[in-house]
Structures are given as C-alpha cells and as structure tokens.
C-alpha cells in the first residue's frame, strides 16, 4: 500500500479591486515538501490550481525584497520561510500589514517610495572631486560604521511590523530612517544637516517609541531601531550644543 502524498493547507487573502467584491480567504491544498518555501507553495497554486492569484516575487533567494507577506501574522519573506516551520498546521498568508492593498497579496508601495526620496539616500558633498583623483579613502573600520544599514532590501517587513506606522502613516518609518543613517555615517558624505529636516521633524525619529519590532523582523539583519536611537541621541546633542553656545538657546 502506498502512503498518500502529504499535503499542507494554505489560507490566502483574496481581494480584487475591479468588481471582485469584498475580501475573503481562500483555502488551497498543496503538496508538502520538506524543502519547499511558502513561495514554492504559492507558485504551485498559481501554476496548477488558480491562475488568478496575484503576488510579487522574483529572486527566490532572499535578496530582491519582492515577496514580503504576513505568514501566520508575522511579516516574512515567503522565499525564505519554509513550510516545515508550520507543517502539519495550516498556513495563513496575507498582504503585509499597514499598507493599502492593490490586489490579493500585492501592497501599494507609493508611500515608502516617496519617503525614501525625502531622506536624500545619496552621497551629498559640497565639492565633488574628479574621478581622476581616484577613490575616496575609506578604511574597513569606516566601512563598518555604516555597512549594516546599507543592507536594507526595501522589503517593507519593518513597516508591516511597526505599530507606530500603523497608527501614524506620516511616520517616516524604519527603513527610510535606517537608509538616511547609512549615508549620515558614511565617511564620504556631508549631507547630515540637510537630512536632519526630515529626520528630526515631528514625523521623523521622534514618532518612534522604540518597540523594536522592525529589528526583530528584518531579514537582512539591519537594526533600524538602533539607527533611530542613534539619531535621537545625536539630535539631542545638537540641541544641547546649540543651547550652550553663547547667545544660543531655544
């Protein structure tokens, strides 16, 4: 007697903006393989069971940042989350929390894209030396200052995990702040003052109450909570310096 092929059940959030009615959950039964990630199961559904399911994916190796989803309520990259972490229990898959939903598992990214531009995520210099002058010298120690903050995938898991972003959509949010910090800490950059307007205003770092979920869910080991903490500290130091300056003070 042959054993039946093991299967696992996925409950997937469905929403179609053009005439699909209210959102629902749809249950699919898919083959269970120990080496399958949740994305493999979703691709199986798309290819074999239901071509109407919409979601984003691309690299399937945890680096492009496309396939973030809520998996049993936790924001995760579906290409880096294995079925075996849940089997034999059903797996509930939803679009990333705190974002408007475009369709099914596809969220609207417009807000982040706007905020990313606002933090000026590029090298700002008063004077740009010619390329013929060669590279800026940057020691491995100087590189280490900002390196971890440069690892951000823009995958949006931290925004989905952030309770403050859920409450205050104007909050700049963990990834944008971490990337601003990445450039502030880069020895080649002179743009900290010009980023400070966005970082230190009411919707910048001060909106954060240091829950720290952003750091917990980050798939690239970035620590946005530390970036926020460090910016708060340096901003406070700026104020104190200004207050102590002769003729200064708020």
């Amino acid at each position: 007697m042959t054993m039946p092929e093991p299967t696992v059940s996925l409950e997937i959030f469905r929403y179609q903006p053009d005439g699909g009615g209210p959102s629902t959950f749809q249950r699919y039964q898919v083959p269970y393989h120990e080496d399958w990630v949740v994305l493999d199961a979703i691709n199986y559904i798309k290819d074999q069971l239901d071509g109407t399911l919409a979601y984003r994916w691309s690299c399937r190796m945890g680096v492009c940042g496309s396939c973030g989803m809520m998996i049993n309520g936790v924001p995760k990259l579906s290409c880096a989350t294995f079925l075996k972490e849940y089997y034999p229990h059903p797996i509930r898959v939803e679009p990333l929390a705190n974002f408007p939903i475009e369709r099914d598992l596809v969220i609207v990214l417009d807000d982040f894209m706007k905020k990313l531009s606002q933090v000026q995520p590029w090298i700002v210099r008063a004077a740009e030396p010619p390329l013929s002058a060669g590279e800026y010298r940057q020691t491995p120690e100087q590189l280490d200052q900002y390196k971890q903050f440069s690892m951000c995938l823009n995958c949006m898991l931290c925004y989905a995990a952030c309770p403050m972003y859920g409450l205050k959509p104007l909050f700049l949010g963990p990834a944008a702040i971490a990337l601003a910090h990445r450039y502030n800490l880069d020895s080649r950059d002179e743009g900290r003052a010009s980023r400070q307007d966005v970082l230190a205003n009411e919707h910048g770092v001060w909106d954060c109450t240091l829950v720290g979920e952003c750091t917990t869910v980050c798939p690239a080991d970035v620590d946005p909570a530390a970036a926020i903490q460090q910016i708060k500290l340096s901003t406070a130091v700026d104020w104190i310096k200004r207050a102590l300056r002769p003729g200064g003070g708020a």
Partner: protein
C-alpha cells in the same frame, strides 16, 4: 482595451531599471539635464536582477595590473569571439565607471589603508575584481537606484510592463506598456528607446536567474525586426545549488574554495586546467573559465564520479579550509544561502553544487555605443551583444559591462535625440491601438483555449535542457527546434483563468512566455547553424573550433517561419586567434 489609449511623451525611454538601465538614465541626465528621460520597468528598480549578482566587478586599478592583461583575459576567455574594439573600450572605461560608483557611495570592500580591495576571479590572470563582500550586485543596484533619485529629469514608471516597440518610418519612436496596477495600456512616445532588460535564463528549467528574466527586451527587439547576435552561447555557471539553482558565487573559489568529486579528488586537473598544485594559482583549476568548469562536470558524470542526490548529480565545493572568520568576512552570503537552502554550514561541510544556466552571452546586436541597426533603438547590459563576451563571459565582467555600455548608450541617445523629432503621432496611436486589441483578443476577452501557461513553459524549458544544454548535436537540436515550433502554434491555444485588469500577473506571464518561446527558438536555431565547438557552445558532432568558417558572429532574424541566421565577421585588432591555455 480598445478604448482610447492614454499617452505620454519623453525624450528618451529606458526599458528596465537594473544596473544598465539606471546607468543609462543617469548618463542622459548628466549629459543634458534638460532632456526628459523615463525608466519603464516591470518591477521596482531595486527588485531588478542585478540585485542577485554576488562576486564582483572587474576593473584595472592596481599597479600590478594592466589594460593589456584584462583585454587578453577577456578575449581568450571569449574563445576569440569577442569584438576586440568593444573589449578595448570596455577595459578602458570600466575602472572609471567603478570609481564613479565609489563616488556615489557604493560600499566597496577595502584594504586596510582605505583603498579599493580586489579579489581573484575565474579566467583572470591578475586579481582585479572589486567587490562588496558577496553582495556586489545588491550594493551596486541600490547605490545606482538611490543616486538616480537625485536627478529631477528622471521620471519612473514602476511596474509597467512593456509589450511592444513602436516603429514608424523605420525608427523606434516609443513603446506600449501595461500599467500593472490598473491594467490599462499606455502609449509612451520617445525620440529614442534604450532597452536594458537583462537576460533570459528562464527559458531553461534550472537557472540562477530570477523569475523576471524572461528575455522581454530581446523579444521586443526581435519582433521589431532587429537581429539578435550569438544567441547560441549560453553560460552555465559551475556552482549552483541543486534543486533551486541558487547561485554560489565564483568568489567562493576566488577566495580559495576547491571543487572535488565523490572521491574527494580535484577533478579539474584532468581537463586541461591543472596541475592542481601549487594552489591558489590564477587562470588555473578552480579559477579557470566557467565554460570549461561546467563541461568538466559533465565529463565527471560520464565517468560516474559525481554524487547522486534528490535533485540530480552534484559535486562538492569545499571552503572549509578558509575558516569561519574569512568565510564570514568575505563570503557571508554563501554561508547564509547554503545554510538556508540546503541545510549545510560551509564552515563545517562541503557545499553540493552543479552547473546551472546563468547568463546569455548573446543579445540584441549593437555597436560600441549601444546603437542597434534600427535608428532610435539602443540596448545595453545582458540584453545586448556588443560583444565583449563572445563565446564565454568571464566572471565579474558583466556588472562593469552594464555600467560602461549603459553609460555609452545613454550619452549617444542624448546626442541622437537632439537631432530628431518625435515620430508621427497618428501612426503611433494606430500601432498602440492594434497592440491593445491584440492582447485583449488573445487573452482577456478570449473564450476557450486548452493550454495552460505552466504546461507550455515547462515543455519549452525541458526542450531547451534536453536539446540545447552544455553539449549539443544536430539531432537533439533539431528535436528542440521542432518542439519549439509546435509550442509556437499552441501559444494561440493559451487559456487564462484571470480576465481582470488590476495586477493581472497571469496576463504578464503569458506575455513573458511569448517572448521566451521566441528567444528559445533563436538559441536553438543559432546553435543548429553553428557547426563547430567554441566556448560555451559545444557540439559533440563538431568537437573542434573552426576559425576558417566560424570566426564569425551569428545574427538571427525573425521571419514568418523558422528564424533565419546569418554570419558577421568578428572584429580583431591586436590579438589574433590562439589556443586557450589554462593551468600553465
């Protein structure tokens, strides 16, 4: 979809937002900030496949290196099929492009004194590969994307799927694109279009390539009547993870990793890459070129000296002797990927690997400025064939290729558009309406049809692997060509589950499959026509290189029937064809 088509106008449209596309757009903005340039991409730029490049980017910067040496490595690596004028331009400009990325903030790994660090790579006689640990493509892409945000003349259309190039009076004057969010077809007119959509690895079943690498740009140009060049040359990277095809970077070998068979024997020494000792040694053994390493795997399999796993045969990539500290410092992503996807910690165990489709040496036929034979149409990066890669690309040449030729295409297009007016709007509108109607009738309003996308896609991929893989011959290629012709016919029978508008990824998958079947045909027919063996194209029925007949590029054209192939002379300047020598 036959209602009026919303339209937009730009000076230049860049299709694709990876390294080549972003560099091209920035080059336009730098050349002339009054020019209005748009980037149209089916994904947000930071999702582009450049993000997956790991090992590094070659550029001559160190005192022990030379222009001559990088040229020689590239040309011999190409099995003399690269155009030497293109290689010279590439080698000359790569260092300044990499320096430009450094000035824009790329976190290149450094020497203790703060200068750029370089590492050895396969087929290179001198270590010249710049790297950002083993996420070089990721950092390069994010640096370019973030830098692009500071140029106000760059407008982006994120998640717009380009379906067709619009040609009026023989000139490329725009595109049609589906806005994925709404499903609405738009007309985007421009005086020049630069195609930078990358490769087509997904025509094969087992590839390092991301899901988006479906040959769209090659298909767009081919359908517009522009020839593709050297499509038979498909690079297999020797070290992919079994099952997923996830890439384990060549940097693992650059840093000292070795390849062994089931007996623990460094088998590459049996295939013209040895002797094994002393080690490490450049242009030898594990630091040989990718074509020869992937072919050696097949010979080992024939000798029953590979290991047998649930996802096929494999050999072992062993980096344990590097030690945990060096692994974590130089190739941390290798460790992360191996642990996550095969459950192996490279610090303690050797990594199972097998050859995997990685890169298309061929692409849209262009000159040194990225210009195609069609006025107003440019291409750069993997989608193009300049050619610097010939029959086999060297690892770490592709990222600087995107930068050098992306920038060249951008600058040239900026000059071109100053001398040209927009195409005739009435003609473009008619073309766009026809395209919208084609897609609606073929997919959205169609009743019936019995083929599913996944079924046809799998048949195509299986045909490519069985007939047009690492080793090919006349019979297997003819079989593959026949299967692909049959699939072309059955494409008309595709049935979609999804007839809605918003974010219809089944529709885009169907359009991608159209491009892929076209591109698969160009690969198989070009391979059939080249009756010699050179670089990555190995014909068991014609095992020798034949310079008398085939020191030539293949050009392939679309016809109403099977693709038509032609030959084009290779540009030779200072390096006459010779024997490829490694290991000695």
């Amino acid at each position: 979809m036959t209602e009026s088509i919303p339209s937009h106008e730009h000076d230049i449209i860049v299709v694709g937002g990876g390294a080549a596309g972003l560099r091209a757009a920035i080059a336009v903005a730098q050349a002339d900030p009054t020019l209005d340039v748009a980037i149209v991409s089916k994904v947000y730029p930071m999702r582009s496949h450049t993000v997956s490049a790991e090992g590094g980017a070659a550029g001559v910067i160190k005192a022990n290196d030379s222009f001559e040496a990088h040229c020689v490595d590239t040309i011999s690596g190409s099995d003399w099929l690269a155009d030497q004028q293109a290689v010279e331009a590439f080698v000359e400009e790569a260092p300044q492009e990499l320096l430009q990325l450094e000035h824009w903030g790329c976190p290149w790994s450094r020497e203790p004194d703060g200068s750029i660090a370089v590492r050895p790579f396969g087929g290179m006689k001198i270590e010249r590969t710049w790297y950002a640990a083993d996420k070089t493509g990721f950092h390069l892409l994010h640096t370019l994307f973030q830098t692009s945000l500071k140029f106000p003349s760059i407008r982006r259309y994120d998640e717009w799927f380009v379906t067709k190039l619009l040609v009026a009076d023989g000139r490329c004057c725009g595109i049609t694109a589906l806005e994925l969010r709404t499903g609405v077809m738009h007309l985007l007119a421009a005086k020049a279009v630069i195609v930078c959509t990358g490769g087509a690895g997904r025509i094969f079943p087992f590839t390092t390539n991301a899901a988006i690498k479906t040959g769209d740009g090659m298909g767009l140009a081919y359908r517009a009547g522009v020839p593709l060049k050297d499509m038979e040359f498909v690079q297999y990277h020797p070290t992919g993870l079994p099952g997923t095809g996830i890439l384990i970077t060549e940097a693992a070998r650059g840093e000292g990793g070795i390849l062994v068979n089931k007996d623990g024997y460094r088998y590459l020494q049996d295939y013209g890459l040895g002797p094994a000792e002393p080690w490490p040694r450049l242009r030898a053994m594990e630091l040989g070129p990718r074509d020869k390493l992937s072919q050696a795997f097949i010979y080992e399999r024939q000798k029953h000296r590979t290991l047998d796993g649930p996802h096929g045969d494999y050999v072992l990539l062993d980096v344990r002797h590097l030690g945990e500290e060096k692994i974590d410092q130089k190739i941390p992503f290798v460790r992360e990927l191996a642990r996550r996807y095969v459950g192996i910690d490279p610090v303690r165990e050797a990594i199972p690997v097998r050859p995997v489709v990685h890169y298309m040496m061929g692409g849209i036929h262009t000159d040194l400025d990225g210009a195609t034979p069609m006025a107003g149409l440019y291409a750069a990066g993997e989608v193009a064939c300049v050619s610097i890669n010939g029959a086999n690309r060297l690892g770490s040449n592709s990222l600087p290729e995107c930068l050098v030729f992306g920038a060249r295409a951008g600058r040239h297009a900026a000059r071109f558009v100053r001398q040209h007016s927009p195409g005739d709007r009435a003609t473009l509108t008619t073309l766009a309406r026809d395209e919208a109607r084609r897609i609606a009738e073929r997919y959205l309003s169609k009743k019936g049809g019995r083929e599913r996308i996944a079924g046809l896609r799998t048949e195509m991929q299986t045909a490519m692997e069985s007939g047009a893989g690492i080793f090919r011959d006349d019979a297997t290629l003819r079989q593959t060509c026949a299967t692909l012709a049959d699939l072309q016919g059955r494409m008309g029978q595709l049935r979609l589950d999804d007839h809605s508008r918003s974010f219809n990824t089944e529709l885009t998958a169907a359009l991608e499959l159209e491009f892929m079947v076209d591109i698969a045909e160009t690969v198989a027919h070009s391979a059939l026509a080249r009756t010699e063996s050179r670089g990555s194209h190995q014909r068991t029925d014609y095992p020798r290189r034949d310079d008398a007949r085939f020191l030539k590029h293949t050009l392939v054209y679309r016809t109403d029937g099977a693709p038509r192939t032609d030959l084009l002379a290779v540009g030779i300047t200072r390096w006459p064809p010779g024997e490829r020598v490694y290991g000695r």
